[in-house]
């Protein structure tokens, strides 16, 4: 008349508060996994001139953009299909044009005479699965 004895014993053993404690333990066990950083791909490109952030462009914004500073055009960059490259430069050796497009999320195009840096934002770096982090040259 008092029901199944084993079931009664189980219910008595696990009170609602106990289940709460168990859930809390499970939650904290999974928390570090949930909080693991993801692999964000860059969505914007930054152009720095003489230490100043001059341009911030979306990679969706296709086209050619002049980089003007101190009243002179120092270079032109092109955004096309999610890649960025320098198409024109006022410097003599034009090494920045030879660099080609930014090839990795942490790649950077440098023009020393023009004091210009072109890089993705954020430079999502380093990567957990990236094939490499740095280049010695």
């Amino acid at each position: 008349m008092t029901g199944h004895p084993e079931r009664s014993r189980t219910i008595a053993f696990f009170r609602p508060g106990d289940i709460f404690v168990g859930m809390a333990v499970l939650f904290f066990a999974l928390l570090p996994l949930l909080a693991r950083p993801g692999e964000a791909s860059p969505s914007q490109v930054e152009v720095w001139v003489e230490g100043q952030l001059l341009l911030l462009l979306s990679l969706d914004q296709e086209g050619t953009f002049p980089v003007r500073y101190d009243g002179e055009e120092r270079m032109q960059i092109q955004i096309q299909r999610g890649t960025v490259r320098v198409t024109q430069s006022a410097c003599p050796q034009k090494l920045c044009m030879q660099h080609g497009p930014l090839s990795h999320p942490w790649d950077v195009i440098v023009c020393l005479p023009g004091k210009i840096l072109v890089r993705f934002r954020p430079p999502s770096h380093p990567s957990f699965q990236g094939e490499f982090d740095l280049v010695t040259r």
């Binding site: 008595a12 053993f13 009170r15 106990d18 404690v21 168990g22 809390a24 333990v25 904290f28 066990a29 928390l31 570090p32 909080a35 693991r36 950083p37 720095w48 230490g51 410097c91 003599p92 050796q93 090494l95 942490w106 950077v108 440098v110 020393l112 005479p113 004091k115 840096l117 890089r119 954020p122 430079p123 770096h125 380093p126 957990f128 990236g130 094939e131 490499f132 982090d133 740095l134 280049v135 010695t136 040259r137």
Partner: protein
Amino acid sequence: MQQRDKNDLVRLSRRTWFLTYALIGFLLVLGAAFVFRKPPPYEVEDRLLLGTHIRVAVSSQKNPSAILDAIWREMRRIEAKYSSHVSQSEVSRINAFAPGKAVPLDEETLFLFERALEWSRVTAGAFDIALGNLVSAWGFDRVSESDFSARVPTQAELEAALSSSGWQLVEISGQQLFLQGGVQLDLGAFVKGYAVDRAVQVAKGLDPECTGYVDAGGDIGIIGPKFGGANWVVQVQNPRPTSQDFFEAAFLNQGAIATSGDYERFFLVEGKRYHHILDPFSGYPSTRWISVTVIAPSALDADALATAAFNMEREQVMQLFPRFGAQALLVDSQGDVYKTPGWAFFSEDHP
């Protein structure tokens, strides 16, 4: 009534045990969460300093922005103090002294020159900071591409430059430096390595637990392992990139790596390449190797040894470098690659 009390006692006892286990489990999970906690993200900043592109990545539980600021301050200080292209720099001041006159040095400069001269002695002059006149004769002392006017000097110009070049013309006595015979100092890449080392020291001084790296145009100093435990994967640039830009990876979680190559600064005359790493004996650009990469405990040493190796035979490098905890990778003009035996350790991703 008595029976019910007994059941309650049993139930309470089991419940206590359960809560004890739950508490232990919770503490274990908390410990695991601490050990495997999410590493703080890397703050990555780029600057153009010391005539090159510098990237610093720092991860710290404290204040990474403050660490980055301190690093840039220190690097700007070193640039202002030691760059040959800064008219008020220590190097410019020393070079302006009359030959044979005593030049007083501060502690830091004394350390740098003693270290440089030590490498000159150890490498029998293959590394030499007293080639300022030779570097000028070739025009490699120009600071930027827009001011780059390198040319092949005449034989008479070369001989004149060689006669007033060489580490034997530099003498340190106490805390004074003496330059003989009109010799001019050119710290060049040596300062870059020093700046990298100082940047690493500054970062560790502010937060010993911080990790990251300092990359000054390919001279790389490791602040600490990636995410606190992994190796940084450093690719060595292929000196003659055709199908692949890189040909070797090095795995580092401490120390430094630096490369010298004949492709960094050069000019072509009638198809012949003249690059900026000069042979202190012939006065011409070194031709033994087209690229040298060195892994060493510090960027200063990696820099000096990478330059020295350009003027050294393979056997000399293989014997000498490991004695100083350094490993080298040499590439000759045929594309043949030679490595010190210890390089193999850095070719694998040790946990």
